[in-house]
């Protein structure tokens, strides 16, 4: 029941589609050794257990502490335009997830400052270049459990992609510059953000090592348009952001969740964090030949924070309407009337 509910929630919100399932037998060992993150490590003499299912039910009754899971898989094809996610369901209590030796993300905290995240469904953005096609990929999951149930316990496990990326003319997901705190200067295209850390977008910042952070933070990205990029009215999609945002394109404010308030979708979503960010880019505001800078000021009140869901990128006006039609189909008659009045 829970599994079905999670899958359908994810799908309805984001149009996530499964590329491959990763449930079934995984290699497993109790203990802790950072070498086990490496794709080169030989785990052939490790035990095997089923994922998802708590290890207590699989011969490790009463085991508490560190353990690692490893899984090798091949991927024939991924959609060219997709944001790819690794879903691991719930992990009891804390985890760090490596793909081919690179840290994808983490949740909860390991000792000595232990914090559980046992009830959270893990969804990790896989940045471009982390995953190999037509070759072996190795996922290694480091887990720490205090007591009672432990391990990858339930929920969807697999590689997924966000089909909504097909609406984008230019994808902007991946590594962005990121800084906690707040400064007016950070909106400027001239500001030098070289010293900033990078972060995956979209991905809640709790996945990225900012487990306890609430408050202001800024995201920045620089990009060039491809040649012959379509002209005319465009839209910047930033998926969903927890909680509120102000978006600057080349130093100019182009939108904020507060601007969306007159939108029927925003009213129906109920909260800032659940509203799809779609901001109009006026003709002429994108540099055709030079560098463009997007800077996003985010404020998170509590719990999950940041640009946590896609699609992230630029879409044409036509795709903008198609995207809205796809996701905003549940409007009542009165909602439609209201939208018409407000739009006029």
């Amino acid at each position: 029941m829970i599994l079905v509910a999670i899958t359908s929630i994810s799908v309805s919100a984001e149009d996530l589609r499964k590329i491959i399932s990763l449930s079934g037998y995984w290699k497993f060992s109790i203990g802790d050794d950072i070498q086990w993150a490496s794709p080169l490590y030989d785990d052939s003499d490790w035990d095997e257990i089923t994922v998802p299912e708590q290890w207590e039910n699989q011969g490790y009754n009463e085991y508490n502490g560190y353990a690692w899971y490893r899984k090798t898989f091949m991927l024939g094809n991924i959609p060219a335009n997709g944001t790819i996610y690794l879903m691991l369901g719930r992990i009891d209590d804390a985890d760090m997830v490596y793909l081919n030796g690179k840290l994808l993300g983490r949740n909860g905290k390991f000792p000595p400052d232990f914090v559980t995240a046992y009830d959270k469904v893990r969804k990790y953005n896989i940045p471009a270049g982390y995953i190999k096609l037509d070759a072996e990929n190795v996922i290694a999951v480091r887990v720490y459990d205090t007591y009672l149930d432990g391990g990858i316990t339930d929920g969807p496990t697999g590689i997924y992609y966000d089909a909504d990326n097909d609406y984008l003319s230019l994808k902007l997901d991946g590594r962005w510059k990121f800084h906690t705190g707040d400064s007016k200067d950070w909106s400027s295209p001239d500001f030098i953000d070289e010293g900033w850390k990078t972060i995956n977008v979209p991905s809640e910042w709790e996945n990225e090592g900012y487990a306890d952070y609430d408050g202001y933070a800024w995201y920045r990205i620089k990009f060039r348009l491809p040649q012959n990029f379509s002209t005319g009215e465009m839209y910047l999609s930033l998926g969903k952001i927890d909680d509120v945002d102000e978006v600057y394109l080349n130093g100019k404010l182009i939108g904020s969740v507060y601007d969306l308030r007159k939108d029927g979708e925003y009213r129906r979503s109920g909260w800032e964090f659940n509203a799809r960010r779609l901001y109009k880019i006026k003709e002429g505001s994108l540099n055709r030949n030079g560098i463009n800078t997007i800077a996003i000021r985010v404020y998170d009140g509590q719990l999950r924070g940041g640009i946590y869901e896609g699609p992230v990128g630029i879409m044409s006006a036509e795709n903008y309407r198609r995207f809205r039609n796809k996701h905003y189909t549940n409007q009542s008659f009165w909602d439609q009337i209201y939208d018409m009045i407000v739009e006029d």
Binding site: S29, I30, G31, E56, N61, G65, Y147, D149
Partner: protein, 360 residues
């Protein structure tokens, strides 16, 4: 046992609910003896010790010794009340003795003597060493006729492949007396543990709380000694609930300094903090001074403790002090179940693979 549900204590935030909470804890503690129950817990029967035992009424310190010759004694069936075996109407002291062999294949395994139910009070000796006691002998008489007896046998007391003597001192106040029921026998814990440092021995022990007790140089010379693992109720602290500290110094003699180390403390009732030379290396439960319901779930007493030590903490040939702070909220208290010791991660992985293989 599957723990499908778990308590996270956000809803224990008002007084009336706290009451429910304490009642739940009480239920957990009452059911706990069933959990360690030899027949349904993690223990498996290695040797049945039911049947004919030597028996004498009376009391004599020499009767605990393996050297004492009991050939002139009566025999009696165990388990059964002595009233049914020709000693009708007898109340007071009596001794049971039995010789048996423990094969050396059991070396390294946690071994337990399960004595079932004894009416009213007992003390059990293996080869002259006391391994446990339940209830209180006169003059501080307390019956424990409804308590299940399960005593850990320290390996150093065992004569492997040779004769071992069990001597049981019993005091009965009235009505049925003796070793009255249960699947009496020698039981083995889960897989054997190959310790690098075996800490199943006497520890320094003191009730109360003082964080300075974690420090290496703290003077514990006047502290009491108790055996670990065993509930403190069996070792002279019958009604004690609250804070207590255990301390033990040891020399690290491990072979492989490159391997990670794990300190095992079996099970502790209820919550604990473990320090080595003053450094906190592991903890279960939450010490806030109050019974903080958000972290204290009432299941801590049943959690198996295996704390991974920070790399490089122990160096070969050096002396260390491990200090364990325990808070018991009621009922059974202390480090009550093993294994207790230090083991390399490699051996610890081996240990869990063996447990999985053996299916318990």
């Amino acid at each position: 046992m599957k723990m499908a549900w778990r308590w996270r204590f956000d809803y224990f935030n008002n007084v009336s609910r706290m009451k429910t909470f304490y009642i739940s804890v009480l239920v957990c503690l009452i059911t706990q003896s069933g959990r360690i129950n030899a027949e349904q817990g993690n223990l498996s029967l290695l040797q049945n010790l039911k049947g004919t035992w030597s028996f004498s009424i009376g009391i004599n310190d020499e009767w605990t010794s393996p050297k004492y010759n009991d050939t002139g004694w009566e025999t009696i069936k165990v388990p059964s009340s002595w009233e049914d075996q020709g000693f009708n109407g007898y109340n007071g002291y009596a001794f049971y003795r039995k010789k048996f062999t423990i094969p050396s294949v059991h070396k390294g395994r946690m071994l337990y003597l399960y004595m079932g139910y004894i009416d009213d009070v007992d003390a059990v000796y293996l080869n002259g060493h006391k391994i446990g006691s339940t209830g209180g002998f006169p003059p501080d008489y307390v019956t424990a006729y409804n308590a299940e007896r399960i005593y850990f046998i320290p390996e150093q007391y065992i004569n492997f492949d040779g004769t071992n003597l069990i001597a049981v001192k019993v005091y009965d106040s009235y009505q049925a007396g003796g070793i009255v029921s249960g699947e009496i026998g020698l039981y083995g814990g889960r897989a054997s543990v190959r310790f690098d440092v075996n800490l199943q021995t006497n520890w320094k022990f003191k009730p109360g709380d003082d964080l300075r007790r974690k420090d290496t140089g703290f003077d514990d010379s006047l502290w009491d000694e108790v055996f670990v693992p065993a509930k403190w109720e069996d070792q002279g602290y019958r009604d004690y609930d609250g804070y207590a500290w255990y301390r033990k110094s040891f020399v690290y003699t491990g072979s492989n300094e490159d391997d990670k180390l794990v300190i095992l403390l079996g099970k502790i009732d209820d919550i604990d903090q473990v320090y080595i030379n003053g450094t906190l290396v592991g903890s279960t439960g939450n010490f806030t001074g109050k019974m903080n319901a958000r972290i204290f779930t009432g299941q801590e007493y049943n959690a198996f403790r295996g704390y991974y030590l920070p790399a490089g903490l122990l160096k070969k040939g050096q002396k260390y002090v491990v200090a364990v702070r325990v808070l018991d909220t009621g009922g059974v208290g202390g480090i009550y179940e093993g294994p207790v010791g230090i083991i390399t991660q490699t051996k610890y992985i081996e240990y869990w693979r063996k447990i999985k293989k053996s299916g318990n």
